[in-house]
């Protein structure tokens, strides 16, 4: 790293905080961590204590409080902030504030304009359409007029009938909504008006804006992602392959991620899977070039059963599953790609230093999210105490966790319930699956939940799903 005078404030917790600290150490950068009272026992606090000493740790009342985080940044004389994922990662106002305040800092992530531009789903959809990138059929602007809305819905039903869709469905969503609020399905055009009015009134009450979006609801699909990396010039984005994140909990939270997105060499698909992967990476790169994307980001796609891809949204941050893409990627033939280190490096202004030709892919990676939850009961998270946690070290396995293996650990209830990420690499699908089962077989995760019963985990669910990965 040419410029090692930087000091990075890690504005996050748990697994990602650990990996950011590790990446900083790898790059020879100074760092400072924050933690809340609940996280005193967390791995990132221990790691920071071990490697940076007490001076690299600041206690805060909340990871959400921008004023407190920035006060720490000033007190510790930090020059950059890494938001990790969640919290401030996709908050363009935070990014703007960090860079525009009197004592400006570097926001390690895309520039705030890019975050803002791609953070708005309508804007992203319109951008995509302007570039010919496929998007879900339907409106790309808020609709305020009932006649217009019905017209769009009618043609969506007609279109699905023409395509032979079994159960044509139209989605009505409040354009100002999000996170599953103000969204409803319609199965019949005759029911459209009543649902439309309900959503419109809800949107007016809730968001003071009665605009709605009307889209086709695609039911049977795989969830794919393209990992994009681009330096501050925004000129030459590269991709680090695709991932398939279709194995999810009932709450649509990812549980197993696989890179690459499809494996046509060993599995049969009803469509040209290799072509689909090429198409979505090309489309993603085109959009990245258009907005001059300047950090790491993930383009989320859904691929319908007939092989048609649709761009859903862009996540302008590093994602949990970055490790699985790194596992199969080689830069100039070398292993050991670390996307977080790449993110920090380019975030601080270094040029990328390689092109797409220098990036190759080898083998297949599976990432398991190990979580204390009950898959048989709608994935209800369990709280409690982990008493034993261990696994068998393997050269093809990398484990990321903030849970200690040498001491008991109380699972905090305030944050997301990920306990560990296990990334398995294999030369091909069957080897990866074997190694995955091997890893899960040797994993010990015991404890008691708050009621005193044995702690429930999702390991069984992960084993069951391993056989099915990458099958559409």
């Amino acid at each position: 790293m040419q410029n090692s005078s930087h000091k990075v404030l890690v504005a996050n917790r748990g697994e990602i905080a650990i990996r950011i600290v590790q990446a900083c150490r790898m790059l020879g950068l100074d760092f400072v961590c924050v933690y809340t009272a609940e996280d005193e026992q967390s791995g990132h606090v221990r790691l920071a204590k071990e490697t940076g000493g007490e001076k690299s740790l600041y206690r805060v009342s909340s990871y959400h409080d921008a004023n407190e985080i920035l006060a720490v940044a000033d007190a510790a004389q930090a020059t950059a902030i890494h938001p990790g994922y969640g919290f401030f990662a996709e908050d363009f106002r935070f990014a703007r504030r960090v860079t525009q305040r009197e004592r400006g800092l570097i926001f390690i992530g895309p520039s705030w304009r890019v975050i803002r531009e791609l953070g708005d789903k309508i804007n992203t959809k319109r951008l995509a359409r302007s570039l010919g990138v496929p998007t879900v059929p339907g409106s790309d602007k808020p609709i305020y007029d009932e006649m217009e809305a019905e017209e769009v819905a009618r043609s969506l039903f007609e279109f699905q009938k023409q395509c032979g869709t079994e159960q044509p469905t139209v989605l009505i969503k409040a354009s100002a909504g999000g996170g599953g609020m103000g969204i409803e399905e319609v199965y019949d055009i005759d029911l459209f008006r009543s649902v439309y009015r309900r959503i419109r009134n809800y949107a007016l009450r809730q968001f003071k804006d009665e605009g709605v979006l009307i889209e086709q609801r695609i039911r049977d699909f795989n969830h794919l992602e393209v990992q994009i990396v681009s330096d501050r010039s925004g000129q030459n984005p590269v991709h680090f392959g695709t991932r398939n994140c279709s194995i999810q909990s009932t709450g649509l939270q990812k549980r197993v991620e696989v890179a690459p997105g499809f494996d046509p060499s060993s599995l049969p698909y009803s469509f040209d899977a290799a072509q689909v992967l090429t198409d979505i990476t090309e489309h993603s790169l085109a959009l990245a070039r258009e907005v001059r994307y300047d950090n790491v980001g993930t383009w989320e796609w859904i691929v319908a059963r007939n092989g048609r891809p649709f761009l859903m949204e862009v996540n302008t941050r590093i994602q949990v599953e970055n490790g699985v893409s790194a596992a199969i990627a080689r830069i100039r033939g070398k292993r050991g790609v670390n996307l977080i280190a790449e993110q920090i490096r380019i975030g601080l202004g270094e040029p990328l230093g390689y092109t797409q030709e220098d990036i190759t892919f080898e083998g297949l990676g599976i990432e398991y999210r190990i979580i204390a939850e009950d898959p048989t009961n709608r994935f209800t998270p369990s709280s409690g105490r982990i008493e034993r946690f261990s696994w068998k070290e393997e050269p093809w396995l990398s484990m990321h966790t903030h849970v200690p293996t040498d001491a008991a650990y109380d699972i905090p209830t305030e944050f997301d319930p990920n306990l560990a990420l296990g990334i398995v690499w294999g030369e091909n699908l069957s080897q990866a699956q074997e190694r995955g089962m091997d890893f899960l077989d040797h994993l010990t995760l015991d404890g008691v939940d708050s009621a005193g019963a044995p702690l429930k985990t999702n390991v069984g669910f992960l084993r069951e799903k391993t056989a099915r990965i990458l099958q559409f």
Binding site: N67, R93, R97, Q100, R101, R126, R129, P137, S139, L156
Partner: protein, 751 residues
């Protein structure tokens, strides 16, 4: 016996003199005291004749002293006279001025508001052996010589509402109204409909009452006085006062006192002097028509000669008003005019007090002219005579042009358009009958190739046309506070858990609205000016009219200069031509930065000219109240008179079929809200703003009741029916456009 009565009466008289001078003129008072004391001690030793002589001598001394003291009566002494329990009350007037009366709706404390007294009274005139009973509606505040339940003549909103109700009754019955003003001010409670709202309603209705209204001022305390004071003739008792604020209140403001602190008597006296509150001052300023002389040191219930005089003056004023509306009564009208000195003998001839048809119209015309002339020349108006004339002429031309365009040409045009539509529809039916079968056949042929899936898909996935004006929180005007790098705490942070916001976010993108709880921080008036009106549509007019210091209030000149320097404005009211989404309108903006947005002559004048402009142009009129603290006290009654004056202008505009919108932002209190703003049928408030009659401190001070939290909040104002909606600042433009499209009268240029 008689002597004893006289003695106790003299003692009362002495207390009165003692009270009204509050420690001054002790030497005179001591002599009187001594004489009374001496007499009461030695009266036993005197015989009857000696007693009578002695007491007569003391009485004469009292008369002499009162005359003597009368000569150097200060303004503050008059205030004390007016407030004294021995001062005449409305019931004394009813007993002595009118020939008979019936109190309406109230016996002592059994009344909806015992401080407001309403009575049907009559005046009996005997003329050539015939007796004429002439009914009048008497309305006024009753202090009841200090009876507790009368609340000192401080009327609650429902008391004023009842006054209005009986004014309307008088209008129905076609009898004149005599109002008697004995109030230190309205009782500042916000219970339905709110003190301000009720006074505004009263003013609005009185502006068009089709019967003569005569007002007599004894104690005219600001808003409370205006509630029944809008009259065709305004008489004033010579020892009364008529003021924008009590001298104590003015002193509290002038001395910048905190709650609980008291102003010094000297400061209060100085304020009383400078506010020009006496009858003589107000006659000079032109806000009353005539003074009714009182006996030395003010009228008390035993001054029967005064009551006879008052009766004469009230009848004369009523005659005068009625005769001025008559087409043929030149000689009687001349005799009744108030500026004619000499005795007016009401018994000499009879004037019937009904006003009908054309006379009623003339009555209103004269009333409006009268108030329109008030306070002319009391602000700095550097518009040259030529310019004013040109503006006058162009006003007439605009008016004529619009009359031709909208009234004469517009209406037939509408009729033609609708006729054309009818014909078109008819022909289509006819045409369809002929060509229908052919088209059906054509459709049947072409139905197979109706719409290809590719075309449907194209329509569903191609980029649509869409222009979104204000996305990503980009505003035309960004507050200078958005340049500071600091965190701002929301006042609701404790209750709602709002995170501190970064000033550039809050004052920039968020438009001063807390992103968590929706609390609206005050913004600059420029934010409104540049973000609500269409870009480049704003043109200011009359900006040269400048706030002055008509009473030469001390230190006020400098403060005005400071305000002008600070804001770059010449008055607290900015009047502009503007447009909202293409709809042209006239707007008046009361700016909180300029002396709290207080309204004086200049502000009132600009407001009035703007209303008249909107009327001539057939445009909607918007009053945006960025904030107002009330009437500018340093201008005294010059300011107060803007309340009826501007309300009448608004009334003319609304009667002519306009649309008058009011939007309150930040804090709006007192006079303007209780008159020309509060009378609008379409009033809206920005969230987190306060609308009311008096600030919480004043309420606590005057009523002693603890003010509940958010007493004047916008939502409270909405709940009690004062305003018609609470708006989000960020949606102000859309909401105003909606209002322009859906509300208002028949006579707007775009209708």
């Amino acid at each position: 016996m008689d002597i004893e009565k006289k003695l106790s009466f003299l003692k009362e008289r002495l207390t009165y003199i003692c009270d009204i001078f509050a420690g001054n003129h002790q030497e005179h008072i001591r002599i009187l005291e001594h004489k009374v004391e001496e007499f009461s001690q030695r009266r036993e030793s005197l015989d009857l004749q000696e007693r009578i002589e002695a007491i007569t001598a003391i009485e004469e001394l009292f008369d002499f002293t009162e005359r003597r003291l009368e000569e150097d009566l200060s303004s503050m002494d008059k205030v004390r006279i007016v407030r004294h329990p021995q001062r005449i009350c409305l019931r004394d007037i009813l007993e002595n001025v009118y020939d008979n009366y019936t109190e309406i709706g109230g016996q002592k404390n059994k009344s909806i508001d015992p401080s407001m007294l309403i009575a049907r009274a009559y005046v009996t005139r005997r003329h050539r052996g015939k007796t004429h009973h002439q009914s009048v509606m008497v309305i006024g505040q009753e202090k009841g010589h200090g009876e507790d339940f009368r609340n000192g003549g401080s009327v609650k909103p429902w008391g004023n509402a009842r006054a209005l109700q009986y004014m309307k009754v008088a209008e129905t019955e076609n009898i004149p109204i005599h109002t008697y003003i004995f109030t230190p001010g309205a009782y500042p409670v916000e219970d339905y409909p709110g003190a301000a709202q009720q006074i505004a309603r009263n003013l609005y209705e009185m502006a068009a009452l089709k019967v003569p209204v005569i007002a007599v001022f004894s104690e005219g305390g600001s808003g409370g006085a205006e509630a029944i004071g809008l009259a065709d003739r305004r008489l004033m008792l010579s020892h009364g006062y008529y003021s924008v604020i009590s001298p104590e209140g003015a002193a509290a403001i002038e001395g910048r006192l905190r709650r609980g602190e008291r102003a010094t008597p000297e400061l209060i006296a100085r304020c009383a002097e400078q506010l020009k509150i006496t009858a003589q001052d107000n006659l000079r300023l032109g806000y009353i028509d005539k003074i009714v002389e009182e006996p030395p040191l003010g009228a008390r219930p035993y001054h029967y000669e005064f009551f006879r005089n008052l009766r004469r003056e009230v009848i004369r004023a009523t005659d005068d008003v009625v005769l001025s509306t008559r087409a043929f009564a030149p000689l009687r009208a001349r005799a009744a005019r108030p500026d004619k000195s000499g005795e007016y003998d009401a018994e000499k001839f009879v004037v019937r007090w009904e006003v009908n048809g054309g006379a009623a119209e003339k009555l209103l015309l004269l009333r409006h002219e009268k108030f329109n002339k008030y306070s002319r020349g009391k602000c700095i108006d550097p518009r040259s005579v030529f310019k004013r004339m040109r503006q006058g002429v162009s006003g007439v031309v605009t008016d004529a042009y619009n009359t031709v365009k909208h009234d004469i040409l517009g209406k037939p045009k509408k009729r033609i358009v609708s006729a054309v539509e009818e014909v078109e529809a008819e022909t289509r039916v006819l045409f369809d009958g002929i060509t229908g079968p052919f088209r059906k056949a054509l459709c049947a042929l072409g139905s197979k190739s109706s719409k290809a899936p590719a075309a449907t898909e194209e329509a569903l996935t191609a980029l649509s046309d869409w222009e979104d004006g204000q996305r990503n929180g980009s505003w035309n005007y960004i507050s200078p506070r958005a340049k500071e790098d600091r965190a701002v705490t929301c006042p609701n942070a404790k209750k709602q858990g709002c995170m501190d916001m970064w000033a550039p976010d809050l004052y920039g993108e968020f438009a001063g609205v807390c992103s968590n709880c929706g609390h609206h921080f005050p913004m600059e008036y420029k934010w409104f000016l540049w973000n609500v009106f269409d870009p480049n549509s704003v043109v200011e007019f009359n900006q040269e009219i400048e706030a002055g210091n008509p009473l030469e209030f001390e230190n006020f000149d400098q403060r005005l200069i400071q305000a002008k320097e600070k804001t770059g404005l010449k008055s607290g009211c900015m009047t502009v031509d503007a447009a909202i989404q293409g709809t042209k309108l006239v707007a008046a903006i009361l700016i909180a930065d300029f002396r709290g947005g207080s309204v004086g002559v200049a502000e009132g004048e600009k407001f009035l000219l703007a209303v008249e402009r909107a009327q001539k142009k057939r445009q909607p009129f918007l009053a945006y109240v960025h904030g107002t603290a009330g009437i500018r006290i340093q201008e005294g009654t010059n300011g107060v008179i803007q309340m009826p004056r501007c309300t009448m202008a608004v009334r003319r505009y609304l009667d002519a079929g306009g649309l008058y919108l009011v939007v309150y932002d930040t804090n709006s209190y007192a006079g303007p809200v209780a008159s020309f703003l509060g009378c609008s049928p379409y009033q809206f408030a920005i969230r987190s703003s306060n609308v009311g009659f008096a600030g919480p401190g004043v309420i606590k001070e005057t009523t002693g009741i603890d003010v509940p939290p958010n007493y004047q909040g916008a939502f409270k104002a909405l709940s009690r029916g004062h305003i018609q909606g609470v708006w989000d600042r960020r949606e102000l433009r859309e909401n105003l456009n909606q209002a322009l499209m859906t509300m208002g009268g028949r006579n707007l240029y775009y209708r």
